[in-house]
């Protein structure tokens, strides 16, 4: 009996040691492999395989969602389909969560992220953004009977809902460290929790919170814009210049045809009406826009 306990303890310690060692081993192989192994695919490689993997949201209506017939739809998806068409390949949509977007690119699991990805300096260090196709800043929506008009008015125990891995989360963490955040890992979860009144307000991209207040009765966007005005752009794996250049040219040539206005009218107009068309849509006309 004594022996078996001893064995158990030693094996546990061994297991720890082994894990620690294997993880430290990661460190060395990581730094060496990074340079020579590229995880991304060039335009030619994508064309050759006949399929492009594009990471989009599947629960973020009206930008990226799955309709009741099981098809991907939305503003981002409309653009994604056009990209695939112009590349002459099939598109394979990969359902992503906000917090996984960088990870998916860095591990080469998708070629492009087209999931309402706001361009920020932190993210630029991790991925490469191409030219923007939408304007965005942050906004805060709350129930109409208890509208939050300023973040300074929040009570001590009031929780604000955010989605893990979004710019709203980073912004609030940095600028309002005292606000209690209630974090969710998917849009669907966050919205349902917000509807269920688990938090006093929901902070996110203003496009998204405006859409929510327009689509659902009883909600008001008390803070329509917060923080800096930013843009949303497709992102590729860092260093994938071939795809990045192709995307830039694609965006410019599409913008010349007013493609993004067309996209807006097809996917966003039902939600936003015409009022937001010019404030939201970006038609990048020059390659040096970014």
């Amino acid at each position: 009996m004594k022996k078996s306990l001893f064995k158990k303890v030693t094996s546990l310690l061994m297991a720890t040691a082994l894990l620690a060692v294997s993880l430290t081993a990661c460190k060395t192989s990581n730094s060496t492999s990074k340079a020579d192994d590229k995880v991304y695919r060039t335009v030619d490689e994508i064309k050759e395989s006949g399929v492009i993997n594009i990471g989009v949201f599947s629960d973020k209506s009206p930008f990226g969602y799955v309709d009741e017939n099981g098809n991907y739809a939305g503003y981002d998806v409309y653009f994604a389909n056009q990209i695939a068409k112009d590349l002459g390949v099939e598109v394979n949509f990969v359902s992503t969560e906000a917090a996984n977007r960088i990870e998916y690119l860095q591990t080469g699991k998708v070629d492009i992220i087209l999931a309402n990805f706001t361009v920020t300096d932190e993210r630029k260090e991790e991925v490469d953004f191409s030219l923007p196709y939408m304007n965005v800043s942050l906004g805060v929506v709350s129930p109409s009977n208890a509208v939050v008009e300023s973040l300074d008015d929040l009570g001590k125990n009031d929780q604000v809902i955010v989605i893990s891995g979004t710019t709203a989360e980073t912004y609030l963490t940095k600028n309002y460290p005292n606000i209690k955040l209630q974090k969710y890992d998917s849009y669907a979860a966050a919205k349902t929790a917000f509807e269920n009144k688990n938090g006093v307000a929901w902070a996110n991209d203003n496009t998204e919170v405006i859409a929510f207040s327009l689509e659902n009765e009883g909600y008001t966007v008390g803070i329509p814009s917060l923080g800096d005005a930013d843009t949303i752009a497709p992102a590729v794996t860092k260093g994938n210049e071939s795809l990045l250049n192709w995307l830039n040219e694609e965006t410019v040539s599409l913008a010349a045809k007013n493609f993004f206005h067309e996209d807006y009218e097809a996917t966003l107009k039902d939600t936003y009406g015409e009022d937001y068309e010019d404030t939201l849509v970006v038609e990048s006309t020059s390659l040096t826009n970014n």
């Binding site: 078996s4 993880l23 917090a99 996984n100 977007r101 860095q106 932190e122 980073t170 009144k197």
Partner: protein
């Protein structure tokens, strides 16, 4: 891996560890209570309640915790039952664990031979006293290995709390990866903190198991 990054993340993980432990142990406590009550109801074949316990076990043993949590947290408010994330975590874990604990306690009770009950009764013990002083202590000590396994299982299950906004170890790692993209460091800390949480349980479990085996009969 970057040492400075790891050090700067440790406070986040520590906080997550405390939350995980708090909810984990409250949930386990609840599951033990449910387990003892449920197993006693089955043992004494209490009419009607016995059936309810049976149905409860089947439901909670045959569905994943993740779905149970989703249902309690996201669906029940739609019919007017509102519950905070922390309470939902405790309740979900308690209900899931309860179903397993009942089975563990029951097999412990079954392992105590009927002759002991009969002897105790013939010695003049009341039914309640027989249960309290003769059956239960033996049954409990025989349930220990199962209990330890259940506790480890339940502490591991806390990793799905992330879906209901509880900042447990798993969610903290995911969240930090999402914000700052330091994957390797976060995965490393995640593993280390799970080991910190579970190795003591495993070791204490082994010690307790060894101790109580002497108390068992008929081995």
């Amino acid at each position: 891996m970057d040492k400075d990054v790891i050090i700067s993340y440790i406070p986040h993980f520590k906080e997550a560890l405390f939350l995980t432990l708090k909810i984990g142990w409250l949930g386990i406590l609840l599951s033990l209570i449910i387990g003892l009550v449920g197993a006693s109801l089955l043992h004494f074949k209490v009419k009607f309640l016995q059936k309810i316990v049976g149905i409860y076990i089947e439901i909670f043993r045959n569905t994943p915790l993740l779905i149970q949590l989703f249902f309690i947290y996201f669906a029940l408010p739609k019919v007017g039952i509102q519950i905070t994330a922390e309470k939902c975590g405790v309740l979900g874990l308690g209900l899931l664990g309860g179903a397993y604990m009942i089975e563990t306690f029951r097999s412990g009770l079954e392992a105590v031979t009927t002759i002991q009950t009969e002897s105790a009764l013939s010695l003049g013990f009341s039914k309640a006293k027989t249960f309290r002083y003769i059956i239960l202590p033996q049954a409990l000590s025989m349930s220990i290995p199962g209990l330890v396994a259940n506790i480890i299982f339940l502490l591991k299950e806390t990793s799905v709390f992330s879906t209901i906004s509880l900042m447990d170890l798993m969610f903290t790692a995911k969240d930090l990866i999402g914000m700052y993209a330091k994957t390797t460091e976060n995965l490393f800390l995640l593993v280390v903190f799970y080991l910190i949480m579970l190795i003591p349980v495993s070791i204490i479990g082994a010690i307790v198991e060894r101790k109580v085996r002497y108390a068992g009969f008929g081995d």
